[in-house]
Symmetry: C2
């Protein structure tokens, strides 16, 4: 870990800037895949599975017997854990429901909003060595609470934990399709795979590029994605072993993971560094983590205000505050995806089971984007109802404004009602 | 207006599909503009103002004396109307505030969300004949309630109503920049114009293309945009003159405006058609409206269920329900931007002054997107706080799941805390 001591404000930007990823080369590879799926449908998906994943699929839909068999292939301990996480995620997201509140803005003019689940949503879960069944819960649970009528899951993995989590969330349409072609299939629809209105989920750069491209065509997506990251703010009340473990848990995601440690205490930075080496030595995915740590930084700052300023400028996906009065200080944080307070709140709690969502804005996107929540799966339709008396009250306001905007027919739509 | 009688379900899609807009040619023109502004900053803006708007600007920032003088140039009636609209919009959007609610998902595990205004937002208001000061209110009011620290307004117009509305909303940074270059300036920042994290507002196809392109680079935008549209569902309780006036108020927006009338009553369709001709004859922007009506359709359907099904498939930006039991029937509508109930609720009420927002999803985007609301100007940061007891409770769940996902360091971040 690179240590930077007392940087001047002019140096912050260089310290906090993420590596720029040029997506143009990847986009150029993804565009023909999108076009092929749009034109050829299922046929394209079979061909691309053979070409990219070296798999000859017989059908695109996941074999129902595999879904049924999933429970029997998992340990009781894992099933219990999945259920506990499911319950917490459910509780936290259910509390995000908003009852419609009617507001009478002017006598006889009543306005409200109603939340409606997006009818058709798609969830992408990547394959690879780590079966991300936790992400199935993070996206499947709010979709279930929102009442989305059709939830399509595309994943090249048939890992039983993924299938088990999907079933728990009531997802019945699972397709064995991966990569950019899965995004294309959900965006455009094929003979087998229903078209959806919004696509969620993580993936490699091809998946990310595909999501951004279909988004430009009007298909909604959860949020733009970049490599995962954590910032830890630690003072002398922090436990160096805990901090090191948190940094490593982020770093094990891959060599492009970002880790930032900010502290007013040189002792803590040094103690964390020593702990990092100790813990790294016994970690199975040590090669990833070590590489990620090479790109990571510890910044020693003069005081709390500077730490807060830097953290707001960085806008971390995950922000761990291992500081005294963490909750009080968190009120000054206005850019972050998710905040973890105190010594006993590791990021991995939020990754799996505390109840918060782990689909969060990376790459500084927390400056404008929220993480996934129930909101991500609903639309809010505004409704208004005006009585005959109400339009008498409000009519002149509308007419005056419409005419000032040279929109005479808008004014006339009121006039005919006042007559 | 083209009349279609009793279409079969297989014909719905053809009736309801909007004209496809190929943005690729426009994008190719916009990309060099974005690049020029990114590279040359203010200099590019001065040059492009001369090139596209034939204006030689001395400074980019709006002259403060013009803002001060605005109030004196407006009629008292218009100012009163703007204030009345401001109040209603404020009331409705303020009610959208959500207080943080702490949820204890497991003993010792507390999770909540806090809403924070996006620090820097940009608002674009186009120039042209109609000064869209109503849109300044629709975007400025929720930004003000959200507590956005910096609201940047770019507009080529110096119309006093725009400046007056901006001042009312507390917007102090106004720049005389228009078109795709205004979007670029707010996305990248220039010497004069601050970079923002999210860009709102309507515009022509160049502005729309620019917003989609910077969005692909990670700058948030309000929503994708298309031509404005209204669907009216009318039964025999509807007043044909009111319906015709509503259709015309939509149609006067421009020749690409979309108008759809759905009814179970042939008499109403005919009566509306007669009223359209009558009202069109005395309308100042008749040429636009007449042209827009040529592309518009009245669909006669057999029953309410079919009407509801079609309207949900269409997902109108504005849906006027001039039917008996409108409020009750609106519960079956799940795709729409904003709904207007009954005979005395014209769309123009929502366009200006009822309190709801008029920045709404067009082009069927209401299937996945909400209109602009207070939510659009805030991010929701999740926060979690786990006690020593809490991690004992939740620890095994996290460890079990992390190990099943082969993320050993994630498990270890809990283990060190349980030890």
């Amino acid at each position: 870990m690179k240590i930077i001591k007392y940087p001047s404000p002019s140096e912050y930007q260089a310290i906090l800037t993420r590596p720029v990823q040029d997506m143009s080369v990847i986009e150029q590879r993804v565009i023909p895949i999108l076009e092929k799926v749009k034109k050829e449908g299922d046929k394209a998906l079979f061909e691309l599975a053979l070409q990219f994943d070296k798999v000859t699929l017989e059908t695109l839909e996941m074999d129902a017997s595999k879904v049924e068999a999933a429970a029997g292939l998992l340990s009781e301990e894992l099933k219990t854990a999945i259920h506990a996480a499911y319950q917490n995620i459910y509780k936290f997201h259910e509390a995000q429901k908003q009852a419609p509140e009617k507001i009478e803005t002017t006598t006889g003019v009543t306005c409200w909003r109603k939340s409606v689940g997006i009818e058709k949503v798609g969830v992408y879960i990547p394959g690879g060595t780590a079966p991300l069944f936790s992400t199935v819960l993070m996206l499947g649970v709010p979709a279930q609470i929102a009442g989305c009528k059709e939830v399509v899951l595309c994943t090249p993995s048939d890992h039983p934990a993924i299938l088990y989590a999907a079933k728990l969330c009531g997802i019945s349409k699972i397709f064995r399709v991966g990569g950019a072609q899965a995004v294309a299939a959900m965006a455009y629809g094929t003979e087998s795979i229903p078209q959806v209105y919004k696509i969620f989920g993580p993936g490699n750069q091809y998946v990310t590029a595909a999501k951004m491209l279909v988004n430009k065509e009007g298909v909604a997506i959860d949020m733009p994605a970049g490599p995962s990251e954590v910032a830890v703010w630690a003072d002398n009340s922090a436990n160096p072993a805990f901090v090191a473990a948190d940094l490593l848990s982020q770093a094990e995601h891959g060599i492009d993971s970002q880790v930032l440690l900010v502290s007013t205490s040189e002792e803590i930075i040094e103690a964390v560094n020593q702990e990092l080496e100790k813990q790294l030595a016994v970690l199975p995915r040590a090669e990833f983590a070590a590489k990620a740590l090479e790109n990571s930084q510890a910044v020693l700052v003069e005081n709390q205000d500077i730490a807060i300023d830097m953290l707001n400028q960085y806008a971390a996906e995950h922000l761990i505050m291992s500081v005294e009065n963490a909750e009080e200080l968190s009120e000054q944080i206005f850019n972050a995806g998710s905040i973890f307070l105190g010594n006993y709140t590791p990021e991995s709690a939020g990754d799996y089971a505390s109840g918060t969502n782990h689909t969060l804005p990376t790459n500084g996107f927390a400056k404008a984007y929220s993480g996934v929540s129930l909101d991500s799966f609903v639309k809010k339709i505004t409704i208004q109802k005006i009585t005959k008396e109400g339009i008498q009250q409000l009519g002149n306001t509308i007419i005056e404004m419409a005419e000032a905007e040279s929109l005479r027919a808008h004014a006339n739509a009121v006039r005919v009602r006042l007559a």
